[in-house]
C-alpha cells in the first residue's frame, strides 16, 4: 500500500469545561494517501470539525501523533509551524464569516503571499491575478468587499486564500453546506478540478452523505469523537458494516418518487461527549447492542480489504 501523506494515530483532543472533560476527538487513527480525498462524515457534535482543526494546528492535540509526508508534526516550534502551514491549509465552513469584512478580495488573497515575504509588489499582483483565475473569479472583483459578494464567490475567495501557499494538503470543513444547491455544485466541481490540476490531497469534512460520496475516495464515519467505520467510498455505500453507518444512510431522504419501504430510524439522540463511559459509544442507540457492547473497549478492525469497522458484532451482523 502507498504510504500516506497525512497520518494520524491515536489522535485525541479534550476540552476542559465546567461540566467535565469534553472528549471532542478521542483516539482517531487514519491515513490519507497523496492525491486522494478522505471524507469525514458525522452529525453535529461528533468532533469532525475539531479533528480538522487539530490536523492543521489550529488546535493543539491532547494526545496521539500526527505525521505529514513521513515527518512527525505533532509538536511544532514557531518556525516549523510556519513551514508546516505552507503545506497544510484549510477552507472554512461559513463563507460569510471566514472573510475579514474590512479586506478586499485582493487583500484577502494576497495576505498569505505578503506574509511569506517572498514576493515583490508586482509579483504579488501577478500571483493574486493567477489565483483569482484559478478559482474562476473575474478580475474586476479585485477591489470588492465580501459583503458585495454572494456566498459562492466568497467561498471562491476562501479557496484562493488557501491555495496561495501552494499547499499539498487542504482540510475542507463543510465548504458547501452554507451554499444553495446550484452554487454548491459549482464549488464542488471547482474543488475537484483543483485537486486534479495541482495534485492536492483533501480531507473533506461534511454532514452531507451525498456530497461526501461524490467527492471522496475514502470515507470515515465519526460518532462521538471516534471513527466507527472507514472504507473506500463506494464500498461504504454498497455494504455499510457499522449499525450507525447503516442508520445514517437510511435516514437520508431519497430524491425522486421511489419511496423506500423500511427505514432504520434511530431512537434517541447523540449522547454527550463529556466524560463518556467506556465501551461502544453508540451502544445506547444501537438496535443490535448487547450487554457486552457497554463494557468491551473497541478498535477499528478490518472487515474486508481496506474496510475497517469498530463494532464487536460487525462480522456476525454482516455475515462476513
Amino acid at each position: 500500500m502507498e504510504s500516506s501523506l497525512v497520518e494520524a494515530s491515536g489522535l485525541k483532543k479534550h476540552f476542559r469545561t465546567k461540566k467535565g472533560i469534553v472528549h471532542a476527538v478521542d483516539g482517531v487513527s487514519f491515513g490519507i494517501r497523496p492525491g486522494k480525498t478522505m471524507g469525514i462524515v458525522g452529525e453535529s457534535g461528533c468532533g469532525k470539525s475539531t479533528l480538522g482543526r487539530v490536523l492543521v494546528h489550529l488546535e493543539s492535540n491532547t494526545d496521539g501523533a500526527m505525521r505529514f509526508g513521513g515527518r512527525d508534526v505533532t509538536a511544532l516550534g514557531k518556525r516549523q509551524l510556519r513551514e508546516f502551514r505552507q503545506n497544510a491549509q484549510m477552507i472554512f465552513q461559513d463563507p460569510y464569516s471566514s472573510l475579514n469584512p474590512r479586506y478586499t478580495v485582493e487583500e484577502t488573497i494576497a495576505e498569505p503571499l505578503f506574509l511569506s515575504r517572498r514576493y515583490s509588489r508586482a509579483e504579488l499582483r501577478q500571483r493574486t491575478t493567477e489565483l483569482m483565475g484559478c478559482v474562476g473569479m473575474a478580475q474586476r472583483l479585485r477591489a470588492s468587499y465580501p459583503h458585495e459578494l454572494d456566498g459562492g464567490r466568497r467561498q471562491r475567495v476562501g479557496i484562493a486564500r488557501a491555495l496561495a501557499y501552494d499547499p499539498k494538503f487542504i482540510v475542507c470543513d463543510e465548504p458547501v453546506s452554507a451554499l444553495d444547491v446550484s452554487i454548491q455544485a459549482q464549488i464542488l466541481n471547482l474543488l475537484q478540478d483543483l485537486k486534479k490540476e495541482k495534485n492536492l490531497t483533501y480531507m473533506f469534512i461534511t454532514h452531507d452523505l451525498s456530497v461526501v460520496r461524490y467527492i471522496s475516495d475514502d470515507i470515515g464515519v465519526m460518532y462521538l469523537g471516534q471513527l466507527v467505520e472507514t472504507s473506500p467510498s463506494k464500498e461504504l455505500f454498497k455494504a455499510p458494516c457499522h449499525p450507525y453507518t447503516k442508520a445514517l444512510l437510511s435516514a437520508i431522504p431519497h430524491i425522486g418518487v421511489r419511496r423506500r419501504a423500511e427505514r432504520a430510524v434511530l431512537k434517541g439522540e447523540i449522547t454527550s461527549p463529556i466524560d463518556p463511559k467506556p465501551g461502544c459509544r453508540f451502544a445506547s442507540r444501537c438496535p443490535h447492542a448487547l450487554g457486552e457492547c457497554q463494557r468491551r473497549s473497541l478498535a477499528l478492525e478490518e472487515a474486508a480489504p481496506g474496510h475497517f469497522v469498530s463494532c464487536i458484532r460487525a462480522k456476525e451482523l454482516n455475515g462476513l
Binding site: S44, S182, Q186, R213, Y214, P253, H254, V257, V265
Partner: protein
C-alpha cells in the same frame, strides 16, 4: 408591461387548475391567486413574490421548493398574515381560505385564523420557544387563547399533545433549554397542532437538524398528518425532504412558481430548465457521476430582476424570445404546469439524460 402580462398568465393557469379540480370534486380550501409582495426600503425595492398562484386541497401536502431568497418564506408569511410591514407591501392578489379572502383581513380576524385554522412551524426550534416558560405551559397557552376551555382541560390537552409528539408527559414542566434540538422541534410541532389547524405551514422544519433526527421528525410529521388530515405546505430547499413528504410540488424561482405538479410530474417528468438544472447539480446518493453539472451563475438580484423569463441568464436553452417576452404558466400535461417558452428543448435533454 412585462410583469403585468405574466401575472395574467399566472391567473389563467390557476383558473385552469381550478377547473380540473372541480371535475374531481375535491375539497379545495386554500387558494392563492396572483400574490405579489415586495419589500420597500428607502434604498431599494426587493421584489420577493411576483404573481404566485396555487391551490391546495384538503388533506394534501404541497412542497414549496426553492433556493435562498426565492420568496418561499414570504409566501408563507403572507398566508399567515405576519409579513413585517413596513417594509413589506402586498402588491396585489388574493388568499382564499375556505372561500374567504384573508389577505385583507383585519388583525383581529387574523388572530382568530392564526392558531385555529392556520399555524406555522418555524425553521429554528432554538428561537421559536420562549426560554423562560415551561414547554407544557407554552402549549397550554395556545389552547387557552384559541378555545374556551378550563385550565384543567387545557393542561390535559397539552399533555396529550406532548405524548402525541413522543415526549413523556412527565417532562411537562421542563424548560426549553433542557431539551435537545430535535425534541424542541417536536414541542414546536405540538404547539402548532394543538388547536387542530386546517392548514399547517412548515418553514424548513428540519433544516437545523441532523439527518438521523430529521428522519425522526419527518416520520412524526407523516404520522400526525395521517391522523389529523391537516393540509400542509412544506417549505424547503431539500429535494429529498420534498420527495418524502409531498403530494404536490411547486418550484419557486425569483418570486415566481416556475413549475408545479404532482410529485411524479416534477421528479419523473421535470420540464423547466431550472428544475432540470437542480437535479443535475445534486450528487445522487446512489449515482456514480464523475462530474456534477451545476447551474451557471446565481439567482438574480431581487431588486432588479431580468426581463422576460427570470431564469434566462442561467438557462442553456434560452432563446432570443426568452430575454424579453414575459412567460406565462402553461399546462403541459393535466395538472402539470410549467413557465417556459422553449419546452421542447429541455424535455429532449431530460430524455437524453435518462
Amino acid at each position: 408591461m412585462g410583469n403585468g402580462a405574466s401575472n395574467d398568465a399566472g391567473n389563467g393557469a390557476s383558473k385552469t387548475m381550478r377547473g380540473a379540480d372541480v371535475g374531481e370534486e375535491k375539497q379545495k380550501f386554500l387558494e392563492v391567486r396572483d400574490l405579489s409582495v415586495r419589500y420597500e426600503t428607502k434604498e431599494e425595492t426587493v421584489y420577493a413574490v411576483n404573481g404566485v398562484s396555487f391551490s391546495l386541497e384538503k388533506g394534501r401536502t404541497l412542497g414549496l421548493v426553492g433556493e435562498t431568497g426565492a420568496g418561499k418564506t414570504t409566501i408563507a408569511r403572507a398566508i399567515l398574515g405576519i409579513l413585517p410591514s413596513p417594509p413589506a407591501v402586498v402588491g396585489g392578489g388574493e388568499i382564499l381560505l375556505g372561500g374567504d379572502d384573508i389577505l385583507g383581513a383585519s388583525e383581529r380576524e387574523m388572530h382568530d385564523i392564526r392558531g385555529n385554522r392556520v399555524t406555522m412551524i418555524f425553521q429554528d426550534p432554538m428561537t421559536a420557544l420562549n426560554p423562560v416558560m415551561t414547554i407544557g405551559r407554552q402549549i397550554e397557552e395556545v389552547i387557552e387563547s384559541h378555545e374556551r376551555v378550563s385550565k384543567d382541560e387545557a393542561r390535559k390537552r397539552a399533555e396529550e399533545m406532548l405524548e402525541m409528539v413522543g415526549i413523556l408527559a412527565e417532562r411537562y414542566s421542563e424548560y426549553p433549554h433542557q431539551f435537545s434540538g430535535g425534541m424542541k422541534q417536536r414541542v414546536v410541532i405540538a404547539i402548532a397542532l394543538a388547536c387542530n389547524p386546517d392548514l399547517l405551514l412548515a418553514d424548513e422544519p428540519t433544516t437545523a437538524l441532523d439527518v438521523t433526527i430529521q428522519a425522526q421528525v419527518l416520520d412524526l410529521m407523516k404520522t400526525l398528518h395521517k391522523k389529523q388530515n391537516t393540509s400542509t405546505i412544506l417549505i424547503t430547499h431539500d429535494l429529498g425532504v420534498v420527495s418524502e413528504m409531498c403530494d404536490e410540488v411547486a418550484i419557486v424561482y425569483a418570486g415566481e412558481i416556475v413549475e408545479m405538479g404532482s410529485l411524479e410530474d416534477i421528479f419523473e417528468r421535470p420540464a423547466h430548465p431550472y428544475m432540470l438544472g437542480l437535479l443535475g447539480a445534486i450528487p445522487a446518493i446512489d449515482g456514480d457521476e464523475e462530474k456534477l453539472s451545476p447551474i451557471p451563475g446565481m439567482t438574480p438580484d431581487p431588486t432588479s430582476l431580468p426581463p422576460g423569463c427570470k431564469f434566462h441568464p442561467r438557462c442553456k436553452y434560452a432563446a432570443e424570445a426568452c430575454k424579453s417576452e414575459p412567460v406565462g404558466m402553461k399546462e403541459i400535461a393535466p395538472g402539470h404546469f410549467c413557465r417556459c417558452l422553449n419546452l421542447a428543448a429541455p424535455n429532449l435533454a431530460a430524455r437524453e439524460a435518462e
